[in-house]
Symmetry: C2
Subunit: 188 residues, 2 copies
């Protein structure tokens, strides 16, 4: 994803998203994106392997933040590791990114192949978190449940963060959603 | 999925799974499946729209069981609705199905397109459950969290149920996994 400076990479990302939104993801060519950004196709491919990559770049960094959160906690309690992973990941979703994320979501939701890739990305995140939790001597089944719960809290928080009119910071929303999940599952 | 009688449908499913396992999903043709079952291709297509359908047939019934579970509970508590949905769905996974499910899982895990379809199936289930919970006047965010937790408990239970040497009934495993998730998220 764009890094909010005005380099070629960011101009390409902004042009791509504008074109995807106005004329559709499928109908937009790399040539049009490059032209809109005042750059060449060759430059486009220096930054992005293909057209969908504009929407999915930054995935390693995104996943890395969750894993850093696990890494930097000394706890062996799944709940504390989950909370640490979520708190670290929130850094990816600065307020300056919110407008981009809103537009990106509209494009992804409108295209089945992009939806599948998004599902795949979340599934990959759950697998990575399962491994990270299991390395803390957490039972593999519990690790997988904790990883899926982490991804679920993240996804619900993301949906809330990009909702129209929402202005709370990502981290605050996420702590609220984690509490909601805890309350929901509290034994009666 | 097969219904464990010895009709054409079941013979086709058994032949397909055997061939997928021995020579790979991609390398197996519908003609080979039909021949192995002693039937014609025409008969195959009377039961299944295409080759992957052998592995994904029964999906409506599967999803319907979860939704019946919500329907048949009079509760407005998300936890009780979740438990009811899970208990109903367990009926789909009778012990006679375990061997089929184990073989099917090996085939699905070995093919990226089938994995994506499986993810998509689970995502569709989560959406349906979100709607069903929301119809009980549960807040939409809570409904979505509850739906994703339900799917997560189901998926972990399924993984345990098909593990080598596991012989406990599906419903028992699932109640255990739901309790594990509750314990995991219990506020400290």
């Amino acid at each position: 994803m764009a890094r909010w400076q005005s380099g070629s990479r960011e101009r390409l990302a902004a042009s791509a998203l504008r074109l995807f939104a106005s004329q559709g993801f499928e109908s937009t060519t790399v040539a049009e994106i490059a032209a809109d950004a005042g750059l060449t196709e060759r430059t486009f491919f220096r930054y992005y392997a293909d057209k969908p990559e504009v929407l999915f770049a930054g995935q390693d960094e995104f996943e890395g933040l969750f894993l850093d959160g696990v890494e930097e906690s000394t706890s062996t309690q799944p709940m504390e590791l989950m909370a640490s992973a979520l708190d670290h990941a929130a850094a990816f979703f600065a307020d300056e990114r919110r407008a981009w994320s809103r537009s990106r979501q509209v494009v992804v939701t409108g295209n089945v192949a992009l939806q599948e890739r998004e599902l795949h990305k979340m599934s990959g995140l759950a697998s990575s978190l399962t491994s990270a939790f299991a390395e803390r001597d957490i039972d593999p089944n519990i690790a997988a449940l904790a990883a899926e719960a982490t991804v679920s809290v993240f996804r619900r928080s993301f949906a809330a963060w990009i909702a129209a009119g929402e202005s709370r910071p990502f981290a605050d929303i996420q702590r609220g959603v984690l509490s909601q999940l805890q309350a929901l599952l509290a034994p009666s």
